[in-house]
């Protein structure tokens, strides 16, 4: 799905989290929102997911205005920073949550839900953990379960907030490849937030560098490396 951000701004009280920013994300791209903390990247992601509403501006999905569309109707697969798995549910029930929450008319049969959950567990290469609770999983496993739960609703896009933030270096590398693979098989437009320039450069097709609520540069990783547009970008990507 093609995503267009048209002059979006966001105020929290008197502080501006986002100055008007505009951005077009091609369908099927894997996009990194890169910047230090407080740069507005998470706010932008949450606006895309419908968890925050912009103070001004529009969001367009495939050319259609989606600014006022509720979080439930956006069908954005959202992976939270600390994964936000439902701690009192098994992994199976976590992944099935979105399907069970559908209105009766569009809710799949129980057997069909089980089949889909099994398929997603295979996709994240953790076929045997359906009956476990989130607290019994490692950090990397939790992240993959959160990804499967987001994919279960057949989302129109995938949004990830610091998906590798809380993991050690080795797991991080494995999961980066895992996300790349899932992105390539599903073909979903995927946006992830990170403060790690190496991660952004290695994984993304398109990198959006942000600072202080503004977009500093948009480009392919190699272009940003070769031609940083501003002094901020230069210091940030060499840090």
């Amino acid at each position: 799905m093609h995503i267009e951000i048209d002059e979006i701004s966001k105020q929290f009280g008197t502080t501006a989290a986002l100055h008007p920013v505009s951005l077009a994300l091609p369908s099927g791209a894997l996009v990194a929102l890169l910047g230090p903390s407080g740069s507005g990247k998470t706010t932008l992601l949450r606006i895309l997911g419908g968890l925050e509403f912009p103070t001004s501006g529009r969001v367009l999905f495939d050319g259609q205005d989606a600014t006022g569309v509720t979080v439930q109707e956006r069908r954005a697969g959202f992976v939270f920073q600390s994964y936000a798995l439902f701690r009192h549910m098994t992994v199976f029930d976590n992944i099935a949550y979105g399907l069970n929450a559908r209105p009766r008319a569009t809710r799949p049969q129980k057997a069909e839900i089980a089949r889909r959950v099994t398929k997603l567990l295979d996709l994240i290469q953790l076929p045997d953990i359906g009956s476990r609770y989130p607290s019994q999983l490692s950090g990397g496993q939790r992240q993959r379960v959160a990804l499967a739960r987001a994919l279960a609703i057949e989302p129109r896009m995938l949004l990830l907030d610091e998906p590798f933030g809380a993991l050690d270096a080795k797991v991080r590398r494995e999961l980066r490849q895992g996300l790349r693979d899932i992105h390539d098989t599903t073909g979903l437009t995927t946006v992830f937030v990170t403060h790690d320039q190496e991660e952004a450069m290695e994984l993304a097709d398109l990198v959006v560098v942000m600072s202080m609520g503004r977009i500093e540069q948009i480009g392919k990783p190699q272009d940003i490396r070769a031609r940083p547009a501003t002094p901020f970008v230069r210091t940030f990507i060499t840090a």
Partner: protein, 291 residues
């Protein structure tokens, strides 16, 4: 060979947070003595006095009309005010923890008010508001719905005094858990109401249970506010605590202490219930608690 003796006695290390055996025993002894003097001894004394004339006499006094009316009234009051306060407590905790707004600190202080205000003062406030001498109270009495010296007044007084229990238990738990799980539920397409029932409520159920049990124990035991508001009319507005006091003033110690024993037993039952639930769901508790 002078250091052979040193080698023979291995060095003894003590962990940084460990106390010596003597200190440990002293602390445990202090805790147990305190509990024994302040909690166990009075509790046993209540039962001893209640059974002073034998079990039969005690049961007979409990079978009296006044005692039965008092027990029924107290259970009714608890059955009405506890669920209402649970609902208000959940609503208040939800509102305070899941939204940002001005005056939040003030609202939290307001919730704590019943803890700092004397129950007698609270009772007097209700009398002033709804008594027959006030405009509102006069109108209510004229329309056949008296509040003071009647059940509604007792319920109001009980609810005022027990209001903070549920909210106070829930607020820290809900702050600790944050909003991410609820947000995850919303992004997965669930309505706010569904998220509340399937995510929020299961996550707070132990704190909620604990708050409700405390609220219930206090609701059944409340004396001050209820004494002022109820008028202590036997057979009509006398609750268990106020009846116990009246019996005691009349030197009917077996009757007073028998009723007191029942009240204490009711409190013990709620505590046992909580412990039983915790044991039964120990696995689930361990599994769902975030490491």
């Amino acid at each position: 060979m002078s250091d052979v003796s040193l080698v023979r006695t291995p060095p003894r290390f003590r962990s940084a947070t460990g106390e010596s055996a003597g200190t440990r025993w002293a602390l445990i002894a202090v805790a147990f003595t305190g509990l024994a003097i302040l909690v166990f001894a009075p509790l046993i004394a209540v039962f001893v006095v209640a059974l002073a004339d034998g079990v039969a006499a005690s049961l007979e006094s409990l079978a009296s009309r006044d005692a039965r009316d008092a027990i029924r009234l107290t259970l009714t009051i608890a059955a009405i005010s506890v669920p209402l306060n649970a609902a208000f407590g959940i609503a208040a905790a939800w509102f305070i923890t899941k939204f940002d707004f001005r005056g939040k600190a003030f609202l939290i202080t307001l919730i704590d008010l019943p803890f700092s205000v004397s129950p007698v003062v609270a009772g007097l406030c209700i009398v002033l508001m709804f008594g027959a001498n006030s405009a509102l109270g006069g109108w209510l009495v004229a329309n056949g719905f008296p509040i003071v010296f009647a059940m509604p007044g007792i319920i109001l007084a009980t609810m005022f005094v027990t209001f903070p229990f549920v909210a106070r238990e829930l607020i820290p738990v809900m702050i600790e858990q944050g909003r991410a799980e609820e947000e995850a539920g919303l992004t997965l397409g669930a309505s706010g109401w569904r998220v509340f029932w399937t995510v929020t409520l299961p996550n707070i159920r132990w704190a909620l249970l604990y708050g409700v049990l405390l609220c219930n124990a206090r609701a059944m035991g409340e004396f001050g506010a209820v004494a002022v508001v109820s008028g202590k009319i036997r057979g009509q507005t006398a609750t268990m605590p106020t009846t116990i006091e009246m019996l005691y003033q009349e030197y009917l110690s077996v009757a007073a202490f028998s009723l007191a024993a029942v009240l204490a037993l009711l409190a013990l039952v709620t505590l046992l219930l909580k412990t039983a639930l915790e044991i039964r769901h120990a696995d689930q508790l361990a599994a769902t608690h975030r490491p």
